[in-house]
Structure formats: C-alpha cells, structure tokens
C-alpha cells in the first residue's frame, strides 16, 4: 500500500513547493472573488467577472501590476446562493488576511450576509449598484462601500431626467412605478415617494410577482391610468416581457425608463422590435469605443489570457460594469500605496482607508482610458457612495446610445434617508458610529 502512495505523495509535495515558490516570488495583491458563473444568473456573472478579471490581467500585463505589485485572485462559485456565498467568504478569508482587494459579490443577499462579518474581519466589501444602500453612511458601516451610486439616488436621477424633459416641472403629471416585487424592486419606493411629494406628481405603484413573465393585468392597469411616464424596476425575464406588453397596449417605449438592471443587451435583444426607443439608466456605458475596453481586447486577448470564452460579450453593459468595478478597485490600490508605501500589498484595513479616500477625477479617468465609462468619484467617511450619478441610455434597435450627460440624484433629499436608516441599524446592533470629522 505504502509503495503505491509514494509517487502520489511525491507529486503532491512537488506541486506544493511549486505553488509556494510562485506565491513568494513577488509582492501580490490578492482579490477574494466570490463570484458566480453558473446558476440562474450565471450569464450575468460571466460577463461581469470576465470584465473584472480581464482588467486585473490587463494591469498585470500592461504595467506589471501596480508599482510592481501583481494582482492575484481566487474564484469561488456561489451560484447566487447566500449560504454558498458565506461558505466562499469563510474559505477565502484566511487567504485575504495579508492582502485583500475589495470583495465584489454581485448579489444583494450575499452582501447583506457579509456586512457584519466583513466589518469584524476588517475586509472591505464593495457593493456597486446593489446591496445595503444605507451603507453610504460610512460612520456606521466602515467596511461597506456601495460605490458609485445606489438605487435611491438612481430613482431620484431618473425623476430629474424626466423633469428636465418636461421643462423642469412635473406638477400634476402621473408616473407609474412598475417593479419586481422583491427586496430589489421595493428598495427604490422610498425615494420615489419622496420625489413625488417634492415634485407634486402622482405616483402609481404596480408590483409584478417574480418571475414576471405574465404582465397582462399590470399593463391593462397602466393603460387605464394613462401615465406620462413609466419608471421600470425589472429583473431577468420580466424586462423583455414588459417591453413586449408595452408594445401590445401601445404605450410609447421612449416614455419608459428602466433601472440599471433592466438596461443590458440581454434585456432588450429578446424583445426585438418592441425594445426600440426604450431608455434605461446606467452608471457605466456600453460599447467598445471606450479606449480601455478596446485596449483590453488587444492586450489581454491578444496574449491569449482573456477570461471570456464568448468574446462577443466584450463591450456589453455588464462586461464594462465588471471593468469599471476593477478600475475602481485598482485605483483604490494606487491610492492606498501612496499612503502605505509604493510597491507594497495592502491589507484589508489599508484597503478600507483607500476606498474611503478615493478621488478619481475626469483627468484620471482619461489617463486610464476610462473616459465616460463611469462618472467621477470622490468618497469620504460620510459618503461611501462617492458619486450618485447615472447616465440615461437609449436602445436604438442595435446598440445602447447615451442620451444624457451624467445626472446626479437629489442628494439633499435622499442622503438623509440613508442616515436615518443607518442610525436605526446602529441602534439595533449596538454600534457606536465613528466621528467622521476626526477621520483623515
């Protein structure tokens, strides 16, 4: 028996030494990637994490890492399942003890489950465009970052866009809020209600039960209500169904404005003709005309190191969103290295500081080739969001075309809502909020 085992053991030993040699060769920044590529939302995850990894690879290939620090990562598959997400987090946690990039889970449920744990373990959790939105208040949530923008700010920005279209006045207008009846869909209601009472328009809320592939009754109601606009918070198969239903009842698609989870190619292409003219908000633009996306295709895929098997996904909304997330993460690493030493990997605490002190200007975005890919971002202790801006894009039947500049939501209206909710959370959990005026 022992004889038979020997070669196996030897092989294991050799592979282990090879592994460890690789690990200590250079300074490395480790990203625990709690991701999903299979399961119900697998195709979304493939595009997002494909973009994310491609950009990390791009930084490694193009500039030999950040000041010589190589980006490394390990993936763990969650299948968009909360329990699996927690298991993945626990598994990757010990590896992230020395150096940790921000954790992107692309799942509200998993983010919620990790908020307390990650704060305890001092690992920064990024929730870009999902997750617990009141984490904008960094005094209560030091380790959670709903970067760029949140559902509530997005809803507010969409209302602003509509308002500008109506010469700055919405009084007496009627807006239908058609939403996926889940945590995700309900999150923006509070902002829509606040906007309705501020701008004196009538808000009609119409829920659609999951999965939303039957919306006859809802659209009948919309036809009766005769709204001026439909603000649309859909998810998955619900999106194409809504577009087809709108066509059926003759509601103009260019009066329908969706959230950023309704505005990807996967949502409009299946609706075919019915999607033409439809608008959706986004915090990152689609397309390969962004310099960094074109360069990734050249450098990373040219070297045969691309992460996507289906290269047709390059330049889609979700792929570009993954790249945006990686751009922000890498920029945070640069920022952190300025404070904690160039050419050194950052641990979770240092990464947290970096994410809280991001200042990515238009000029910097241009330098990394991400002009117009995402808005400018400046974070601080009391503002973990950093931007609150979205663009409205319109589907012309073949591609998404931006039809507005970056629009910022009504911060004065929305941010107090976050603070109130964060305060309640702090009370429930017995957290003493940090004093943001003392943070540097």
């Amino acid at each position: 028996m022992i004889k038979n085992f020997k070669p196996v053991l030897a092989a294991a030993a050799v592979s282990l030494t090879m592994l460890s040699q690789g690990a200590f060769a250079a300074e490395e920044q480790f990203f625990p990637l709690i991701d999903y590529r299979v399961g119900p939302y697998g195709s979304n995850g493939q595009a997002f994490y494909g973009g994310f990894i491609d950009y990390l690879n791009y930084v490694n290939l193009k500039e030999k890492g950040v000041n010589g620090v190589q980006m490394t990562w390990e993936e763990c598959e969650t299948e968009y399942n909360n329990a699996k997400g927690v298991e993945c987090y626990e598994r990757l946690k010990s590896k992230a003890a020395k150096s940790a990039g921000p954790i992107h889970t692309m799942s509200t449920g998993i983010s919620y489950a990790l908020i307390d744990k990650s704060a305890q373990d001092k690992l920064p959790l990024a929730m870009m465009g999902y997750g617990r939105t009141d984490a904008v208040d960094g005094s209560v949530f030091p380790y959670a970052f709903p970067l760029v923008t949140t559902y509530q700010m997005q809803a507010s920005a969409i209302v602003k866009f509509i308002k500008d279209k109506n010469a700055g006045n919405l009084a007496g207008k009627k807006i239908v809020y058609l939403y996926h009846d889940s945590a995700y869909g309900k999150e923006a209601i509070i902002a829509m209600e606040a906007e309705a009472s501020l701008n004196k328009f009538t808000l009609v809320q119409i829920p659609v039960a999951h999965p939303g592939n039957e919306q006859g009754a809802q659209w009948l109601k919309i036809r009766q209500e005769k709204p001026d606009f439909v603000v649309f918070w859909g998810w998955g198969v619900m999106n194409q169904t809504a577009l087809k239903a709108a066509q059926k009842v003759g509601f103009p698609r260019d009066k329908m404005i969706g959230s950023w989870w309704t505005g990807s190619e996967e949502d409009v292409v299946p609706a075919g003709d019915a999607a033409k003219g439809y608008m959706a908000a986004t915090w990152n633009v689609a397309g390969k005309q962004v310099p960094v996306i074109a360069d990734i295709e050249k450098v990373v895929y040219g070297a045969g190191k691309g992460n996507l098997q289906d290269t047709g996904k390059i330049g889609t909304v979700l792929y570009n969103r993954g790249v945006s997330a990686a751009v922000l993460s890498v920029e945070a690493i640069r920022k952190g290295q300025e404070k904690y030493g160039k050419g050194k990997a950052l641990n979770g605490e240092q990464m947290r500081w970096a994410l809280e002190n991001l200042n990515i200007t238009e000029a910097r975005l241009k330098q990394v080739g991400a002009t117009n890919l995402l808005p400018e971002i400046k974070t601080s202790c009391d503002n973990h969001e950093g931007s609150g801006k979205v663009k409205i894009q319109q589907w012309d039947g073949a591609k998404w075309v931006p039809v507005s500049d970056w629009i910022e939501g009504n911060k004065a209206l929305i941010h107090p809502l976050f603070q109130a909710s964060a305060k309640q959370y702090a009370k429930e959990k017995g957290i003493t909020p940090r004093d943001c005026s003392k943070e540097k």
Binding site: A12, R37, V86, E90, G109, E187, S421, E428
Partner: protein, 358 residues
Amino acid sequence: MLYREAGQFKTTYAADQQLFPIRQDRIGVIVLLAVAFLGVPLLASEYWFSAILIPFLIFALAALGLNILTGYAGQLSLGSAAFMAVGAYAAYNFQLRIEGMPILVSFMCGGLTAAGVGILFGLPSLRIKGFYLAVATLAAQFFIVWCLTKFPWLSNNSSSGVISTQRLVLFGHELTTPVEKYLLVLSIVVFMALAAKNMVRSTTGRAWMAVRDMDVAASVIGIRLMPTKLLAFAVSSFYCGVAGALYAFCYLGSVEPDGFSLEMSFKILFMIIIGGVGSIMGSFLGAAFILLLPIFLDVALPFLAGLFGLPFSSATVSHIQITVFGALIMFFLIVEPHGLARLWQITKEKLRLWPFPH
C-alpha cells in the same frame, strides 16, 4: 465481539427504559458528545465553525423536524423552509419588540409561532394524504414567503424586506466568536435531538408510527387521528422554527424571505431521504451528506485537477460538482434505498456477530 449486548442485564425498569439501552451505544454517544463539546472547539478553525459545523447542525435540526413529520407520522411536507422562515422572523420580532427578551426565549417563541402556523397548514392533512398533502404544504411555502414580503411590519419596515438579526446576548455575555455560536447551536441541537429520540418511542411517537403505517387501523385501535396528526405538524414545525431562528441569528446574521425558497425545502427533504426516513440519526447523516459533500468536492476537484494538470475553471468545477453529487445520490439510493441510517444499522448487526458470522 466489541459490540455485543449479551451479559448486560437490566435489573430495574429505569435501566430497561433508558434512552440508550446498550452500554456500547451509551459510551459511543458520550464520546461523541465529548468530542463535539470539548475536542472540536480546540481543534477546528474559524472556517470550520462558520461555514461547515454551524450550518450542518442547523440543517440537521431542520431535517429532524421534517423527519418527525414525514418519517414518523407519514405526512409528506414541502414547507420546511417556510416554517424556518416563520421561526426566524418571529424570533427577530420578539427580540425587537419586547424589551429585554432573553435570546433563548425568543428562539422558543419563534419555534412556537412556527408550530402554530404548522398546525394551520396541517389542517388539510385531516382530509388528504400523500402527494396531495405535499401540494397543500406547498401552499404554505408560497404563502409564507409572500406574506413576509407583503407586510413590511414583519421585517420592521425594512425597505428591502431583509432583516438583520440582533446581537446574541446570553446571560449578559455577548456571543461574537464562531466558537461560542457553535457551542450554543450544538447545545440546542443536542438537547432537541435527545428530546426527539425520547419522544418517538413514547406513546406519542408510537401513535405517529401507527398513523403512518395505516391510519384506518390506527383509528380502529383508538388513536384519535386529528390530534395525532396536528401534534406531528406542531412538533415538526417547532423544530423547523427553532432551526430557522438559529439559521438567522447564529449562521447568516441577516435573512430575506426569498432565501427560504422551495429549493431549501427540497434540500431538507433530500436530507431525510438520503439520511434515512424515520430515523433521528438519519437526519444528521443526511444533512452531512447534502451539505458537506458539495464543499468537499469543491475543494477536492481543483486539487485533483491540479495534480493531473487539467485546466479547470471555477465554473467547470461547479458543473462537475453538481454532476458528481447527483450521481452519488443515485448511487446511494440504488445501493441503499432506506438511507445512510440503514447502512449504519446493518453495520451494527454485522458487528454483533463479528468476528464469528454464521
């Protein structure tokens, strides 16, 4: 030789009626408990506690609950996850709305609320049986999840319907580390498992089994069907409810109604089918199989792939994992349709004869 009850004479009724009548079993259980309470906390890492041991114990408890209903009382149910949700949300609300509520009492109230809801959804069992009853309990699954999303009061008006559980304070001491949570979960699970073991051999348990085997015959010998069936629903839901409260408070820390999906109910059902229907131990074995095997494959597959130099992406690993897992379920069900607990029973019988089988 080692496992032989010959020569163990019971001289009192108490000795004859004890929970584990065979001395070797008693020793085995005591050793197991000693390892679980003393050995494991010394040896296991944080990962083991928070990702493996705690969920294993919680799901074992839920499976135990379903096993009482399905395995012992013969009522098929597809609503276990929903009853867990009731337990989790009820415990959260008791903790939230009553000042100074002890956490253990909250868990118990969560269980009792689940028991109440369980009785309500158990009512159809008085008229319908088998697969039709499964469909009726399916209603519980959808109704409860809908209800928790529909009424914001239940989630303390959280804008997204997600609740974030309160701190775990036990006798003035706050439980924060995974070890402490593990010990709390372990104590509750051990207590409830022993209680279940005792219950199923009592009059109640025998009545359940009589109903399971043939309800007409059971009613002829004087077992009242309605209280018996409803009690089974209540006890089962109580167990699931406590498991749900532990799931929220000790494992995830925050839960949403959609998390308690039909898929989770199926998972619990598979646990008892694989582990052994009508067996306390089977619930534990099934939970271990269903929860731990995927994690084991997840870790082992990339390692094996690395050994043979195969380029596996995490998606491929996930696909292979699902395939292997499915194949193993089929294999076990073909080899031993009565579940893993039955394998253990066969082993015990063999051990009794060993080393001189006849």
